[in-house]
Symmetry: C2
Subunit: 334 residues, 2 copies
């Protein structure tokens, strides 16, 4: 017979998961993915129109790994008007040898946010010039805040510049980040951001280019992560024609959606012009050849990231429970 499984909530996940551990396992996940060490079929997608929403389902496992993971990330974009969070999510962890349920992580979408933040921070570092003038963040939402915090740390800069279509939101985020110890400012024009920053992360739900190619100076490194579905786009495809290094998290996925596909479709670059971010993180390829290069990372999100974070969460929570149990048990002997 099957038994009940534990459900762990957001507070347990927040306590268990440290940023450095998440960066470490997500880095490992990109490398495994690049080395064909992950089984991850095409993700599922369920779309809603009234009200607008989506549910992305990613699933997979590390070859030889102890678990498999099914991850749901849900967004309903009019929720804030109802006083509800936009995001929700669940991560389900199963035994890869028996199919039995190990745990449900009721992460409310946070594990996806964190693994995406980790990917952005790793990608920002992977192609950054040797001297980072400032980190530019295009976008003002929840992921923009995480990117500012995580990537500024990985790049070793305190200077963050924010641009979004709504200046009030940009100013609010900059103010929020300043209170967290960063030197953050909002700018009115995206050109100002590119004038100040040589590492730029885009994290918006845009469906048309926000970043014109002419604004991108030599020596700039761009990480684009907003285009997680067909129909989304953040970068002018002409930037790809000027780039020396193009990194993708997954070649096929970035040809299906993301930014790379737009440049390929426009005939600006060959469909094999990209290298894998995992190869760069493994030290098998270079993310930047010279200080004057324009470099790009196109991130669309990998099941491998979800497998990595969920595996880490389970290990940490369970070892803590055993530790807790041991202490409690020692207590009774006194």
């Amino acid at each position: 017979m099957n038994s009940q499984f534990p459900t762990y909530g957001l507070s347990e996940l927040r306590t268990a998961l440290l940023r450095k551990d998440m960066l470490s396992v997500v880095r490992d996940a990109f490398i495994r993915h690049a080395q064909s060490g992950v089984v991850a079929p095409e993700p599922g997608e369920l779309l809603f129109s009234d009200p607008p929403g989506d549910c992305h389902i990613k699933f997979g496992y590390f070859k030889g790994g102890a678990v498999f993971v099914v991850k749901l990330a849900i967004g309903f974009y009019e929720n804030p008007m109802k006083g509800l969070d936009t995001n929700n999510g669940l991560v389900l962890v199963f035994d890869a040898k028996t199919g039995k349920t190990i745990a449900v992580l009721n992460d409310e979408g946070w594990l996806t946010s964190w693994r995406t933040a980790a990917a952005g921070a790793l990608a920002a570092k992977a192609g950054a010039p040797s001297s980072v003038t400032a980190l530019g963040i295009i976008g003002t939402g929840h992921q923009a805040e995480l990117q500012a915090r995580w990537a500024s740390e990985s790049l070793g800069t305190q200077r963050v510049v924010i641009w979004g279509r709504d200046l009030a939101k940009s100013a609010r985020l900059a103010n929020n980040l300043s209170q967290q110890g960063l030197t953050a400012m909002a700018v009115k024009d995206v050109g100002e951001l590119f004038a100040q920053c040589n590492v730029v992360i885009t994290c918006t739900p845009a469906t048309a280019p926000l970043v014109p190619a002419a604004m991108v100076r030599p020596g700039t490194h761009i990480v684009a992560m907003g285009a997680d579905s067909v129909g989304k786009q953040e970068l002018d495809p002409n930037i790809f024609a000027r780039a020396t290094v193009i990194m993708t998290d997954d070649h096929a996925q970035c040809l299906g959606h993301g930014e790379f596909c737009h440049a390929v479709t426009a005939g600006l670059v060959s469909s094999t012009a990209d290298i894998s971010l995992g190869q760069v993180l493994a030290g098998q390829a270079r993310g930047r050849l010279s200080e004057e290069d324009i470099t790009i990372v196109d991130l669309t999100g990998l099941a491998a990231q979800d497998v990595a974070i969920a595996t880490l969460a389970i290990e940490l929570i369970q070892s803590r429970s055993i530790e807790g149990g041991r202490k409690a048990s020692e207590g009774t002997h006194r």
Copy 2:
């Protein structure tokens, strides 16, 4: 903020769900599906080789419905050697207007078994001749037992004939069914089954035809449900060339896998030779034109069935809880 959600286990589901209610909502689900009233993208599939296993992920919602459903059905085929059940599963139910988690149904795979049993019973009736001599079941597993019980009731026959590759298993199932009030017998040869039965349900994991076309007599109705993945097959494709009515649960899915695709690929029938089971259940098409027809239903499994059963389960359990709560609350006023 998001709140915790309830998890309902198998005992609650068993108590709440009655066979007649499940038949009713699954019938409705087939009709909705045929009338384009269901949003159900292509299901996900995760395969394992060491040990062999699979995880099927179906997801969807009824247009205008209050919930969306993500259903996982997991099978690990060497589990019995370890003293574990082969099947596991979880059904996740979300609010289709906000994306919030309504409940997790820890059904251990039973909701999939039941909705499949309901589909078989409805499909058996949809093309059955007016006088059923006996119900033939090809297969000896868990679903074979459910089919024998559910379809014999829908057909109004007590007579069940079992054939499987392992005669001992066939005999065990026949004995088991006899103890449940059916007149069941096991036969050594599949030809004996076709000699006695004019409604036959196949529910095996076969990867090569078990049912030779020459054995199928005029007036026979066949329901094939075993081929739920690419590479599986139960029927000789030549049966399709002899059939007057071919029903599929989903046209595209049955062209991708199932039985219909083998007949189409072999050039025995046109790729548009099928009608939808939902149309027949809605009374918009006939499942049998004459008593001498050979008729076939090809079932591959629909997310609509999962949505239907999960919605029913939630409604029944929650109305019961409210009822229980009301009683408890009345109690405190005494």
